[in-house]
Symmetry: C2
Subunit: 287 residues, 2 copies
């Protein structure tokens, strides 16, 4: 009697063919001008996620510049983006042998069809594949429980009202030590940690790291603040191509003051490499 | 018999009238165009200090934008600046009620008189004086010995060859725990800490914080690397007007890998406020 066939493993999207690739793809209209329809699938409480937007800009710059990978990218968020038509305008600032620098703007259209700038970015790109393998990182991966002891939005009632379509795009499992806010008992500490991946199984790559650093709930929730914490500026350093498999993201806030806070994010890959570091300045509504 | 007159206290430069103000002053040629002769007084091993250059750009942007203080400023360093004539070209990206965003380029001239871009900057400005006084900073000031137990360049032989005129502009007293490199015995730890001020006694202000985050010896020296550690990109968050008196600057490197490293700087003022935070990405020569 033949063995029962085992159920086929769910197919994982390959890099280049996942939801993230589909929704960050830009169409070059002419050199330096790229069109995109910003997806409604990456919203958090009805706002288009800043990391998703940074990845869109990053993809356009990767096409413009002679080097493929963002090494350091800074974005200033000017006005709130909406799902729908947008254009990215890029400029080459300087090309070098190992690094090139570019600038990019994301713009949308007002009711008269005029362009309104959403985000402006400066970035220096290189080739992560050519870096020497000398690693002297002294930072240590975050202390986060195994994934099966962490919890995602699907494990409990929806803690945050409003449309959060991004939760359907992500595999997010939060450290229970940073989940008190979802149970009405924030720890008071400015920390947020999670296992992170894409829901369709697509492995991480340098561009998806730009999403990863801004895809967790705000540390402000654990501090006990409610309401939105809009990003003013976000700078990401991408330091290594991430290995396949889930990432660990650890975010810390140490300087909530004067109505602003910083979020420092570290992204660690499955080989225990510190593949990305970021810091954002965000407004904190204390009321 | 009249009392002997006490020697007059050495005069301290007031903010606006110190060497730092003189050497970062820009002359507006027309809206958005500012001229300056970059000083040779802020060089470190013959290179013009990156923080001094950032302060020059910051001063021009403060003139261009309707808000006076850099809140978050990111600079990409493209080509090496030289003492001598330079121009800063600024652009207003967006003005808002509490924040405005601008862009600026520092350019110098090649032998044919063509402009060559040295640095490009994106920055969001606000008014630090209008921030609410709610402070929930959890970060703690650095553990650094009292100033009289710390050491500056004047206390020992010149450890670094070459012209370092900047040391004449600064009051810099390094934590002995981060001075091993100057004695041929680097600690191996990516740390650098110092008391910091301006040699002429001018108190700190938001613009001089842009200098302070990049004015210490490289952490790379304490790690045991020699040679230059050029800055690729530097982002500074200015979070509060600094109180008068000396600053404490603490810099940490935790991710030296692949020929690059990050330097995270914190600047604390005399009232124990965390007044600025920065991160730079720099190239590390491992050879």
């Amino acid at each position: 009697m033949p063995e029962a066939a085992s159920a086929p493993a769910p197919s994982r999207a390959v890099i280049g063919a996942g939801e993230f690739d589909r929704d960050t793809a830009v169409t070059r209209r002419e050199p330096g001008v790229y069109d995109i329809d910003l997806s409604a699938g990456w919203t958090i409480i009805s706002a288009v996620n800043g990391g998703y937007l940074l990845a869109v800009l990053g993809r356009a710059l990767a096409d413009t510049l002679p080097h493929p990978d963002p090494f350091t990218i800074s974005a200033h968020y000017l006005t709130a983006s909406q799902p729908g038509p947008a254009v990215v305008r890029t400029e080459t600032v300087r090309t070098g042998r190992t690094l090139s620098t570019g600038q990019a703007s994301l713009l949308q259209y007002d009711e008269e069809g005029n362009e309104v700038e959403r985000i402006r970015v400066l970035a220096s790109y290189g080739d992560l594949g050519t870096l020497p393998d000398d690693v002297r990182t002294t930072a240590k991966p975050p202390a986060i429980p195994p994934m099966d002891q962490c919890f995602g939005p699907e494990d409990g009632p929806t803690p945050v009202e409003g449309s959060s379509a991004i939760t359907d795009r992500l595999m997010l499992k939060l450290d229970p030590a940073t989940l008190g806010w979802a149970l009405g008992a924030p720890s008071g500490k400015g920390e947020m940690r999670a296992w992170f991946g894409l829901a369709d199984g697509r492995d991480p790559d340098p561009l998806s790291l730009l999403l990863a650093v801004d895809a967790l709930p705000p540390t402000a929730f654990e501090i006990g603040l409610k309401g939105w914490v809009p990003t003013v500026e976000l700078t990401v350093h991408v330091r290594h191509r991430p290995a396949p498999g889930p990432l660990r993201v650890s975010i810390t806030t140490r300087n909530l003051a004067g109505g602003f806070l910083e979020e420092d994010a570290e992204v660690w890959d499955s080989e225990d490499r510190l593949v990305a570091q970021s810091r954002q300045l965000a407004r904190a509504r204390l009321g």
